[in-house]
Symmetry: C2
Subunit: 616 residues, 2 copies
């Protein structure tokens, strides 16, 4: 296309953005208009993408990091023939695929859900890593960012990672329209300010007028021909470009144009240009991995003392041997999480993200988008750093495995900053998540393997210290199940535990038995989904449940148990033991005791509960 045609296409994208937002009476047309020329040139001349085959391994990957500019994306889909005009005008309607912010749950051409700013580039890094290190099919990753989102630290985690890994298959396009939501950005139209920052992180930078389609065209070409470095194109643009009533004006973010009809006329009216987007260069099989082999999980002998984090590392390595699609990621603590076991065996499939947990989870999301089965690990406490990325991963429907080590007060001396005490609450509240918390090494190994086959975000919680192996290596642990470890016809209450507290609950049950009180003990290794049947049976048989967990009282195992009784049927009596104090430094045993979740505390509470006293 020549200059005039590209300009016309840009105007069409503007007009259609205005029309979509006008039909919805909401949305972000002005943020779409600033980037319309950038999008037009990309679509017409540079993107290689088969809209009929979004899974084509040679397809370029495009991410709209400024997800609120979704009208522009949908206008581009229309220009490419992927959707029709009638669908464009369903924007933001109930049931429409064209949501306020794009998600891959509904649209096959969307790589990852955006709308929380600063996430597109980190996920793009994950996809670019796949392209560069694993798939090697030569695709390019294009990420269209806003300027105000460059304030997010996650963008600089991504910039650092991409620069360090020489991801020359990655291009960031920054729509520098100088206006954020509330008003001007820090740096306005100072492209040099952004260029200095990206250059410092090892990027090739190009500064252009984002409304000069020839300059945009040349910049994309320069990005494509740059090797050894990722490229950022810093494009000076105007928000609301092309309509005087809104162009470069404050206070108009996220609002349809005041007079759409007039605006469309000013933009030259509705057009019906149809672009033939370039096909990808070659059709290769999606990263040729061998069919999964039989997984030979590690086997541990009953009674041996093994930390579940060790079992995680060993099981992951075994899984990696049987499945070439399994990849591992860590946040520079692989010696603690035991990801390093995998790293040593399969360095090609290991991704070190250094201390950048947002980038770590984003890399997992990007790798999952390319069909890999990622396991990303750090301390459970530090996964809170990536909470928003986990939240967005669930909106994407990304299949990622996250592993949090060093759970709870039982880590001991390091103190509260290192203790995962809120992680179960965080992961339980994530849509469609699975939350697993094993208490022994064989159970850990089985759950690590089972995670790979689940949907959505899956979380495994591991412990720092060694604990005795309770189960044989052939025992099965279905997700959604539990194990009844003590049971009799005379049980007067049920102790529900998981992870480290299973061992405390067993010791408590033994001491209670000596005092003539029989207690059922349930190992609730599947915290979400929870084993409703077993819990209800226990409630029916014993009348009261005592939960005990190395976690804050809110949102953890106690709450998970209650999920079994929220159907209007009678609820058993309940007591919850959890970490209610702010721990300091102390030994693991001292910590469990101080938090009131050790065997002695459990036995004391159980006696009170059996005596029907109020224990709180």
């Amino acid at each position: 296309m020549n200059t005039r045609q590209l300009t016309e296409l840009g105007q069409q994208l503007r007009v259609d953005s205005v029309r979509a937002a006008d039909a919805a009476s909401s949305g972000h047309p002005t943020s779409s208009m600033s980037a319309a020329d950038l999008m037009a040139v990309l679509l017409a001349h540079h993107l290689r993408y088969d809209f009929d085959r979004p899974a084509h391994p040679g397809n370029d990957r495009f991410i709209l990091s400024k997800g609120h500019a979704s009208p522009l994306l949908y206008a581009a889909y229309k220009a490419a023939g992927a959707i029709d005009d009638a669908e464009l005008l369903t924007f933001r309607e109930l049931g429409s695929r064209l949501e306020g912010h794009p998600t891959p749950r509904r649209l096959p051409w969307v790589e990852t859900a955006t709308g929380s700013l600063g996430q597109g580039l980190p996920v793009g890094v994950g996809i670019a890593l796949s392209g560069k290190r694993l798939e090697r099919t030569g695709y390019r990753v294009w990420v269209l960012c806003g300027d105000s989102e460059l304030a997010e630290g996650s963008v600089w985690e991504a910039a650092e990672h991409a620069g360090y890994e020489h991801l020359d298959n990655l291009t960031a396009i920054v729509d520098v329209n100088r206006l954020g939501q509330r008003g001007p950005t820090r740096h306005g139209h100072d492209l040099d300010a952004y260029a200095r920052r990206f250059q410092a992180f090892g990027w090739h930078t190009i500064e252009i007028d984002g409304h000069d389609v020839d300059a945009v065209d040349r910049a994309y070409g320069e990005a494509e021909s740059t090797s050894g470095q990722p490229t950022v194109i810093l494009a000076r643009t105007l928000k609301g470009k092309g309509v005087a009533a809104v162009e470069d004006r404050e206070g108009l973010h996220g609002k349809p144009l005041p007079d759409a009809e007039e605006a469309i006329a000013e933009l030259g009216g509705v057009r019906e240009l149809r672009i033939e987007v370039q096909d990808p260069p070659a059709a290769r099989v999606l990263h040729a991995v061998a069919a999964p082999g039989q997984v030979e999980l590690p086997r541990y002998d009953k009674g041996d003392e093994v930390a579940t984090r060790d079992a995680y590392g060993q099981a992951l390595t075994a899984l990696g041997g049987a499945r070439e699609d399994v990849v591992a990621i860590d946040g520079e603590v692989g010696d603690s999480t035991r990801s390093e076991y995998f790293a040593k065996e399969y360095p090609d499939r290991y991704f070190e993200c250094y201390i950048a947990e947002q980038q770590m989870v984003a890399a997992a999301v990007g790798l999952a988008a390319r069909g890999w089965v990622p396991y990303a690990a750090t301390f459970a406490a530090f996964l809170t750093r990536a909470h928003d990325f986990v939240r967005m991963a669930s909106i994407s429907g990304a299949g990622i495995n996250l592993v949090g080590s060093h759970a709870g007060v039982s880590i001991g001396q390091d103190g509260p900053s290192q203790m995962g005490l809120e992680d179960l609450a965080m992961f339980r509240s994530v849509y469609d998540s699975t939350v697993l918390y094993p208490c022994d090494a064989n159970q850990t190994a089985k759950l690590v393997a089972a995670m790979a086959g689940l949907d959505g975000v899956r979380y495994l919680r591991t412990s720092r210290g060694a604990s005795p192996v309770l189960y044989g290596p052939d025992e099965e642990f279905p997700v959604g199940g539990s194990k009844v470890l003590r049971s009799s016809g005379e049980d007067r209450l049920t102790l529900v535990a998981a992870g480290v507290t299973v061992h405390e609950a067993l010791a408590a049950a033994d001491s209670l038995a000596e005092a003539g009180i029989r207690a059922r003990v349930i190992d609730l290794y599947s915290v979400k989904p929870v084993d409703r049947d077993t819990l209800r049976q226990a409630a029916e048989d014993t009348g009261c449940l005592l939960t005990v967990e190395d976690h804050r009282e809110e949102g953890g195992i106690g709450d998970a148990v209650l999920d079994a009784f929220l159907d209007g049927r009678p609820v058993p009596r309940l007591v919850r033991l959890a970490v209610r104090t702010m721990p300091g430094s102390a030994s693991p045993a001292e910590q469990l005791h101080a938090a009131g979740i050790d065997a002695e505390s459990i036995a004391t509470a159980a006696r009170l509960l059996v005596e029907q006293a109020v224990v709180r």
Copy 2:
């Protein structure tokens, strides 16, 4: 002190670090040894601090961002005479003030809890903002960082903020010892790599040999005399410096020295140098603010339609008029959260953090550390970005107010990326937190004022859309209370709601009454702490409770209600209505209906519950 004395002091700090970790049999001596000379020179020649008066307004502020190097900090305290040698050797013991990672809960000289890397500099920015813009007492903020933590995006949010605000009262000292926990950092000893990055963000940079005490001394002097820019001192150091068995070696992170006695001998033995730390220059009253006046909160008429976010902005502005210690912070969405109302009235006390939620919460923590009462707001969904900062704030015991707007599916068309659906779970699980969720404007105003006087992390959840004012302006809403909005002697169940669902529950109760079913309605505006007495009374009177919330089912209002029944006493029948689906775009009313939390859904579930059927 001369070169030899400074060097001796550095050796003493090393020896005492080794001794403390040896006594504890855990800890991070090698990470302490790399920074010992940096600390020695700071303590002896540059820090102005009265250890007997940590609240002295002229005191410099020191933050050990690499909190695991706590042995070095405690060794410095000993050298300054703040603690004695016997206490030093209680390091990491149960009950000791000298925790694995320092916290202000236990030690008066610690500004903020560290141990989650990448947080010291952002909090330091908050303190420096207070010093520069509010207190103006001339103190300097010194932050000692590790090199591996520079991978955290939060560090670059802080770098951007400090550079943009010209915080020349802030000095970052980076202990570039080239080794992280697992192994080498990305940039090793390449000081230039770090310098380029900081320079790009507007910092003055100084590169030195961190073991050359004279060079360190000169660098601190240069930082002190640099105006208009923050300074970063990039110091090339060796991990484990001074002991050949560990110096510059991998695999020794977080481990006591293998032979402490030999190491101490190699370091020249135990010393007993005692430093007189410089006094701060002048004793001024802690930021002279007038005594709080009478707060004239906004008053709304019953029946008027007002969004709770509007009431937040108006109440905060009123509070700011009565209390000069109230400050407001926002993440570039003040036009949505309504922080902008405050910003317009009190621009001097308003801090724009742009789209950097980690820095926003860190600024709140830093400002709270200096005695201010900060209110920081963004969309509830985006507060998840700062989860780890909130977690660490609770470990600090920081008194901060966080406000999340745009809660739940009821925001409408923007879709799930913008919906706060996990925020109640996140904030409930935070130690010592308060969680408030008002349903009308007068309630919001009262709660905004009440928050200021509470301990710990306080969270207020606001809604996007307008809702009718239910309460008169003189109604009181004690934290920990609730309001019974419908009640009779014939109530057959209780509807428990908060925020937007209160209005739905009231409509449901009306339609149920028409069908002959009387329902009690409780407005649970205080989600944590929860009003146990009222809930128990309702359970006793009506036998079953139906909770309804615009939040995920895990960790929110349903779980909060259960907190009232976890004492071993009989539990009522319970049903929970919450958001179980992944929303798309739709109108607010359509969203509430699709999620099954509108009046119709409530009435249907209530009828089933009353008929004792299983509804799940």
